[in-house]
């Protein structure tokens, strides 16, 4: 393997789908199991985003892909190669670190050249690649500076450039934007997506930021507690969260959860709880036999932006609010359902929020298809 390594490393990115099977990882000493059997397919040329709260194992999974951690069991294949036991240098991957990890004693140019030099690329090749990459990342002016003379954004671009010049078969990003300020973050986010589209390379991207996750991903993977909660196209995951956790993690403000009981009313199924009486769409229920679900204790999830004001009485969603946050283009209304029900946030479009008082009652309704239903015990969506 290593005999071909040097030669392989310099080739243009080829087939680089990634297959992860049953990866487990327990940290010695602490006994903490951080990855509990991960299975994942990363198609060639896709941008897969691993997202989840801190400690969910997303960084560990990424580092396992890089070869910086070795799993206790399981298998990782990049393309047709089993890389599970390979050292990072033999995997043909490049990684952009959260702290950028630029070599502080090397100039930008030397930082970019580092990996190529180690692989014995000829100087002419190195120069050519740097000449190609530097303008893309607007680094020409800084090539002979040391990293400490660069701004945060510039450093970040050097870190990306260092990965790009390598032309690896797999790019790994470990929260690359978290050290940038908000404005720059949005800008670079778009750049990364453009970069991906241009290179057509396989990329795995770790973040805890749902906006990054939603906007960047071809495939979104939500991790929690060392297992994959859900994987799929981001809008699909957003629209049909498989678990209460995924539902709560995506969306801003987060989804409201209300304890309720399913009841059959005619041909429809309604979810009833304190200050809540809404119809549930068939699609949100188990396909097999929806009627038999009557009486089941569930948690109903309603996104704040899926409600709108209504004149119907009694109100399907009876919000007693005590705080209105006006953002101009929308308002967030905070309160409780019914007299002493679950806390609830509603988002009102445009200047609707301006017309309501500081506190009071609000009658809201929600489309049956927008009512998510989760099992109260397992937290899984009832729909399969």
């Amino acid at each position: 393997m290593s005999a071909c390594a040097a030669a392989c490393m310099l080739r243009a990115p080829g087939m680089a789908s990634v297959t992860i099977r049953q990866i487990r990882k327990t940290y010695p000493g602490t006994g903490l199991t951080i990855l509990k059997g991960i299975d994942l397919e990363i198609p060639d040329g896709s941008l897969t985003v691993l997202v989840g709260p801190s400690g969910c194992g997303k960084s560990t999974l990424l580092r396992t892909l890089a070869g910086l951690e070795r799993p206790d069991s399981g298998e990782i294949r990049i393309g047709d190669r089993d890389v599970t036991r390979l050292e990072p240098r033999d995997r043909d991957v490049a990684m952009v670190f959260q702290s950028y990890a630029l070599y502080p004693h090397l100039t930008v140019r030397e930082n970019l050249a580092f990996g190529l030099k180690l692989r014995g690329a000829p100087q002419s090749e190195i120069d050519a690649r740097i000449a190609e990459v530097a303008p893309q990342l607007k680094l020409e002016a800084f090539l002979d500076r040391l990293p400490r003379a660069l701004s945060g954004g510039q450093r970040q671009r050097v870190a990306m450039g260092r990965a790009i010049v390598r032309r690896p078969s797999l790019f790994l990003f470990d929260e690359p934007l978290s050290n940038l300020d908000a404005a720059l973050r949005g800008e670079v986010r778009v750049e990364i997506r453009r970069l991906h589209d241009r290179l057509g390379a396989t990329m795995v991207y770790v973040t805890h930021d749902q906006v990054e996750a939603m906007t960047l991903a071809d495939q979104l993977v939500v991790l929690n507690g060392g297992v994959i909660e859900q994987a799929g196209p981001p809008l699909e995951v957003y629209a049909r969260p498989k678990t209460r956790f995924v539902a709560s993690f995506l969306g801003m403000p987060p989804m409201n959860f209300v304890d309720a009981t399913l009841e059959r009313v005619g041909s429809a199924v309604r979810a009833r709880g304190k200050g809540l009486d809404v119809e549930v769409a068939r699609a949100r229920l188990p396909k097999a036999d929806a009627p038999s679900e009557a009486g089941r204790a569930v948690v109903v999830g309603i996104r704040p932006q899926d409600v709108k004001t209504t004149d119907r009485a009694p109100a399907p969603v009876d919000l007693r609010f005590e705080l209105v946050e006006g953002l101009g283009f929308e308002s967030h209304v905070h309160g409780k359902l019914g007299e002493d029900g679950a806390p609830f946030v509603a988002r009102l479009e445009g200047d609707e929020g301006r017309r309501i008082p500081k506190w009071g009652k609000l009658a809201l309704e929600v489309a049956p298809a927008d009512v998510h239903v989760f099992d109260r015990e397992t937290g899984r969506a009832l729909a399969e």
């Binding site: 990882k25 951690e69 799993p71 050292e87 502080p104």
Partner: protein, 295 residues
Amino acid sequence: MAKASKNQTMDETGGRRSLLGEALVHLALVVATAAALYPVLWVMSLAFSSSQAPSARVLPWPEAPSLDQFRAVVGTHDAAGRWLFGRQLFNSLSVSIATAVVGVGIATPAAYALARFRFLGKERGVWLLMATQMFPGVATLVPLYLILQGLHLLDSRAGLVLVYATTSVPFCVMQLRSSFEAIPVDLEEAAMVDGASRFQAFRMVALPAARPAIAVTALFAFMGAWNEFILAATLMSRAESFTLPVALQRYVGEHGAAWGHFAAGALIVSIPVMAIFYLAQRHIVSGLTSGGVKG
């Protein structure tokens, strides 16, 4: 290079190390530790044996284990029946502790000024301070004697403390300066915004923040005084004002030496420093290099 990658055990991360690599690391460390301890064990074996002369052996184990050497060294009394060893131990302790306190006391404000203020003569002063370290002590012994005589501090522990402390000042200043530089200046600025004077900011913010470095610096000043014997032998003129290293030196005479006594005394002298090192090892690492890495 090919070899290195073969048995590769990653030093940076867990989970990817081979047993062989691990074993090699421990082997290397055990060998190094053995080499580090061997001479000490050798001294120890001599101290615990009953003969005065060393003999050729590979294993540093006393031939006829006994505590005679220690008894003889610790039990030194002078003609008047005073417990000389006890007095000399007290001298060593008091002089060394006082040296550490006085040396660091002198050096700390100066180091702080060098770290925080701009002033005339700063660069030149720092350079001169460094330069004093380069002049061999051989030539300064006699002038020092004359100065102490002028100050009426010959043969007094105060004089010895003063000399030791002052000699330690250049090193202490260098050491402390970099630790003060490593403390974010915001801390003191915050204190001054809160109403502290410049000096209060130093005393109440910078000083506590530099505590580990100060402790380590004090340790080095202590060690310097604890181990010194040329100055002590020259400046002190009464047996009960000698420090332990001078007493130790007495076991080495014109014709031959009482190696057993010397070894026992050497162990007694070494033990306190070893104990402090053991207790302070973590701080020594951080204290020596705080503020070392800049850019």
